[in-house]
Symmetry: C2
């Protein structure tokens, strides 16, 4: 049954893609068998990340970039994630209404998701949904995410090229550039560049990029691209910049290094996640968790004693 | 040696507190022995969380609230965390300069920290730093954190009373109230309430709170408090509201439920963290991780196979 879905994904069925992504979203066990089947067919799609604060026009930009890719006959999968909405997924849906022009195009698949409470769950979901789209034969996968915090940095670790979107007059750029952004940005996009302050923002970002490149002796100099996504201007330049970065990664050997690092991180995360599931399952038997908690609350045990007991029981010889 | 530090913490030494929090921050092994010693002396401090978007004046408000507590001769520990700055800790430091009026007061201890990349590391750090301050005899611990994403929700799980700070004219309140905020807020603070739009914001928040209380049949109705932290106005009302919430929790039995849930979460996290560390240590021997990654890159194994191998080797009988 799940093997059928794996086959259909490999044949490019959007229906099968949807189904399996829903399983991933719901942490449905059936996803696993399917992911195992398709794994060896992944690694072909090029993954582009688009991130920026709310209000920078990421959705419109993603839409325009998708359009440019389609003009070159490239197929596109889009995963839009919103880590800032842990409980309700409403925020992105409004934006998504704009993307109607691709909705009847079989060369484009779009899926959005807001965070649930899961520890590190969103980054893992993004990773796996990306793999499904990759296996389904999409040439590009675009990951779009709101914000510039640790969640977004984790999510963006899946991307080959990360684009950070800024707009003139929206908050303190210097502060947001502090927040880990310079570590992950391969390309800067100044969207809404017809607004006042665009030239100043351009100069400021260019200056900081040069400083950073010099300081850390980086080989890639992130370009700063101006766009007006609402009017469809500049997305062609953005796609060119992405292609140039891709060539740089491939020629310099960094592409392989990046992918190896990602495989390492993914595998360790999966072990991490699996362990937690096992711990929960085992400790749930016979109310063990509740007994432990009661003993701690009565100060008969400390959590440290409990950890030691559990670990020495489960991983003997570990100390 | 570390036992000496534990003793000194229990006697209220700020120096020992600083030292051990630094160990926690650096994941220094010496912290563990100390935390074990002090654990049975924790649970006395009342923990207040203060969260809100950047620019809402949380630091000034924390400062004012601390002042109100000091007027009642209550001692205060403050842990300020900034999950939005994963790589540099600069953002908060500027704010912190304001807190000088407490710097010579032995009844106040203040510590700030910005995120490192650690998986779930910041919430755990906050938890443990809170326990150190608790054991050192502080009556209150205030946890201050920037933002309203999943990181902040995790951090705030340590608090007995969570205050969410809003200001008029700063972005879309409806959106930020969607973002999990209503699930964690025990008290809303409208800071900078002399600004235009404060009354409207007050009405809007009050309305949504009533809706939420009705919808989910909640027993506690979160009050909406107006403050002007820069002028020291309203912090007395805020402290009153915190005290009222505390009394509500204690009288209704929810206090015990909350603390029990927190103990459960903490213990499970510690077990998870410890097991993962141990397995990582084992996998680091003989370059095992790199061998696994190479096999995955060559499509000889999938990460799913690797997870299964690792788990069944180290936690036999788990399936």
């Amino acid at each position: 049954m799940t093997i059928e879905f794996a086959k259909e994904i490999l044949q490019g069925s959007q229906l099968a893609v949807s189904r399996v992504i829903t399983w991933l979203e719901n942490e449905d066990e059936r996803a696993r068998a399917c992911m195992e089947k398709i794994y060896s067919h992944t690694g072909n799609a090029y993954v582009v990340g688009i991130t920026g604060s709310p209000g920078t026009g990421k959705s419109t930009l993603t839409d325009g970039l998708t359009w440019e890719m389609r003009k070159k006959n490239l197929t596109v999968g889009i995963v839009a994630v919103d880590p800032s909405s842990p409980f309700t997924g409403g925020a992105l849906l409004g934006d998504r209404i704009r993307m109607t022009r691709h909705s009847s195009d079989p060369g484009v698949y779009m899926r959005s998701m807001a965070t649930r409470g899961a520890l590190g769950g969103l980054a893992q979901f993004t990773q796996e949904a990306t793999k499904v789209l990759d296996a389904s034969g999409k040439d590009f996968v675009i990951i779009e995410t709101v914000g510039v915090g640790q969640d977004e940095v984790d999510i963006m670790s899946v991307a080959d090229t990360t684009c950070v979107v800024l707009v003139p007059g929206l908050g303190d750029v210097i502060q947001s550039m502090k927040a880990g952004i310079m570590e992950i940005a391969d390309i800067y996009v100044i969207n809404k560049s017809d607004r006042p302050g665009a030239d100043q923002l351009f100069s400021e970002v260019t200056y900081r990029v040069q400083q950073d490149v010099h300081l850390r002796n980086r080989k890639w100099v992130p370009p700063v691209i101006k766009t007006i996504a609402l009017e469809g201007q500049g997305e062609d330049d953005l796609l060119d910049a992405i292609m140039t970065h891709r060539k740089f990664l491939e020629d310099s050997g960094e592409f392989l290094v990046k992918r190896r690092n990602r495989t390492r991180t993914e595998t360790l995360q999966m072990i991490h996640h699996e362990l937690f599931q096992l711990i929960m399952n085992r400790l749930s038997e016979n109310d063990q968790i509740e007994k432990m908690v009661a003993a701690i609350m009565e100060h008969k045990l400390s959590p440290y004693n409990v950890v030691e007991q559990v670990v020495s029981k489960w991983l003997p010889g570990s100390k």
